[in-house]
């Protein structure tokens, strides 16, 4: 649905995005993740034909965004971040205007308007002037506009920014429904949103893509947490000597969200050695069983998969570190 190759955009000396290459398949819901200023909006604006890239190529639904811009614009529903609308028009008037622009046939216009207003739950505000709507409602009108057509591809720039938690949940629920009929490409810096709605994540950091392999590695990099009763120093030392263990560090009680335990129950984070297929849990259980005579007991052992937040923090921190070193 989207194919971007070596997209680069420079504003004067500033390079907003550099060599972006990625694909979005039909039916996917892809989250485009990055901190503010990472270049998300720039990328979306290029894909929606608002501005051309400095170099590189992009196609949407098989049409080139530079050469066949009109054809591309017929395929997409785009919601810019600031949700610009005409404040003097009524909701119904505005959507009818947009439906005409998007070539919804006259016979279908009323039903199409009803459909999008229903989907975005704004039917009760149809006669209200847009300027008097709350932020949440404006957002929904923008979304309703993007759904008109209906388009093959939805490009949403931070669809939940500026909404309160309840509205955010509603938009997310709406997104779940949209998934069924549309390909969605949405940018956000709210990670929970991505985890709950997207089938895939693309992370952008300072104008460059974090390679998907890297994201996969970070996501796959699981850790273990153990709670052990026994002399802390000796337990840690023994754990570190295990073959499959890269590091073992105590987790200070204040860093844990769990209810406090007695101080002699040491809470330990274990990072396995990369590239080994040995499960460190086997070794750990065997070790603890061997030391049972000395009063070592394994109370708890579990695997932890990093949250997207941790992956994101690591991906952006590593990149940032490298750039910092160069500077």
């Amino acid at each position: 649905m989207i194919e971007a190759r070596n997209l680069t955009k420079r504003y004067g000396d500033f390079t907003a995005i550099q060599d972006l290459t990625f694909q979005v398949q039909p039916g996917e819901v892809v989250g485009f993740l990055g901190v503010n200023g990472a270049g998300k909006t720039t990328t979306l604006r290029i894909l929606s034909c608002y501005m051309p890239a400095s170099s590189g190529q992009a196609t949407v639904a098989g049409f080139d965004v530079f050469k066949d811009s009109l054809r591309v614009r017929e395929q997409i529903g785009y919601l810019p971040e600031s949700v610009p609308l005409y404040p003097e028009l009524r909701v119904q008037e505005y959507l009818a205007f947009r439906a005409r622009l998007k070539a919804v046939p006259r016979a279908k216009r009323q039903s199409e308007l009803a459909r999008v207003m229903d989907a975005c739950k704004i039917a009760d505000r149809a006669r209200q002037t847009i300027g008097t709507l709350s932020r949440g409602y404006r957002q929904r009108v923008g979304l309703a506009d993007a759904l008109l057509g209906p388009p093959k591809l939805l490009i949403l720039d931070e669809p939940t920014s500026g909404l309160d938690p309840l509205q955010r949940m509603e938009v997310r629920a709406l997104m779940q429904e949209l998934k069924r009929e549309h390909t969605v490409f949405l940018s956000t810096h709210i990670l929970g949103e991505v985890e709950s709605t997207c089938t895939r994540v693309i992370i952008l950091h300072r104008g460059k893509l974090v390679p998907e392999a890297e994201v996969a590695r970070l996501r796959g990099a699981c850790q273990y947490e153990a709670r052990v009763a026994g002399p802390m120093g000796r337990v840690l030392e023994a754990l570190r000597r295990l073959n499959a263990v890269a590091s073992a560090e105590p987790i200070p009680p204040e860093a844990s969200t769990e209810p406090p335990e007695p101080a002699e129950h040491t809470h330990i984070r274990i990072v396995p050695k990369a590239g080994l297929d040995k499960d460190p849990r086997d070794e750990l259980v065997a070790l603890m069983a061997g030391k049972a005579g000395e009063g070592w007991r394994l109370l708890e052992l579990r695997r932890r998969i990093p949250t997207l937040e941790e992956v994101f923090a690591q991906a952006t921190a590593e990149e940032g570190g490298k750039e910092g070193a160069q500077a």
């Binding site: 785009y78 600031s82 610009p84 005409y86 205007f97 947009r98 998007k102 070539a103």
Partner: protein, 243 residues
């Protein structure tokens, strides 16, 4: 074409619900009425040039800057231009519809002034040369087209509507000053140079319409200059896209 109609409808909708639109129309009709009544009260006959001459100043200095300042500058400021340019519409359709919207609104204001002529029709006993009025109104429409397209072009350059209005006001004022100076007999010798200068000014051509003269040269002049500014405006939109 379908896009053009939809966009023009939106333009008219916006101006007809805005206080600015009504305010402008009210001021315009008030001034027009004042000019009419001042002569009508005395003679019951109002001559074409009494009515239409002042429009040569009112339109470029006041009406056009106000009617055009928001057209593109406001869209840019509130970000709706992004919605517009990512919809499947051509730049030229956007520009033409904005021009058409402003022009039609102006035409509506002009249509309302016809009520004065009706009054004259019933109160004046002599013969009125309606043909000259028709030509005068045509002239008012054409000079409006020129200044509105110029105002639209200026509006495409700015993000602040007030700056756009100010710029087109100053530009029109300078043009009027040049026109004024050219008509001072002592300034520049009569000759080809002065004629060329005169020819470039819209007011020269406008005056022919006041005299009841429809010259294809004048029609071509207004048509070409108007088209030129509309063309420039689409180029500005394209260039802004490329920034």
């Amino acid at each position: 074409m379908r896009n053009f109609v939809a966009l023009t409808r939106r333009e008219l909708l916006s101006v007809f619900v805005s206080p600015l639109g009504y305010g402008t129309a009210a001021v315009f009709l008030f001034i027009f009425g004042l000019i009419f009544v001042s002569q009508f009260a005395a003679t019951k006959l109002v001559e074409v040039h009494t009515l239409i001459d002042p429009m040569g100043y009112l339109l470029p200095l006041l009406l056009s800057p106000i009617l055009t300042m928001r057209l593109l500058a406001e869209e840019r400021r509130q970000g709706t231009l992004e919605m517009l340019l990512t919809a499947p519409v051509r730049n030229i359709e956007v520009v033409l519809s904005k021009f058409a919207g402003a022009w039609l609104f102006y035409a509506c204001m002009l249509a309302l002034t016809l009520i004065h002529l009706f009054a004259m029709r019933f109160h004046y006993e002599g013969e009125v040369d309606w043909g000259r009025f028709a030509v005068g109104y045509l002239g008012m429409l054409l000079i409006a087209g020129l200044f509105l397209s110029f105002g639209l072009f200026v509006s495409s350059l700015f993000e602040q509507p007030m700056l756009a209005a100010l710029t087109s006001f100053v530009a029109s004022l300078s043009l009027l000053m040049v026109n004024f100076v050219l008509n001072v007999p002592a300034f520049l010798q009569e000759g080809v140079g002065k004629d060329v200068f005169r020819f470039t000014l819209p007011f020269t051509h406008y005056r022919n319409f006041l005299a009841g003269l429809v010259d294809t040269g004048d029609l071509a002049y207004f048509g070409l200059i108007t088209a030129f500014f509309l063309f420039l405006t689409t180029k500005v939109l394209e260039a802004r896209r490329n920034q």
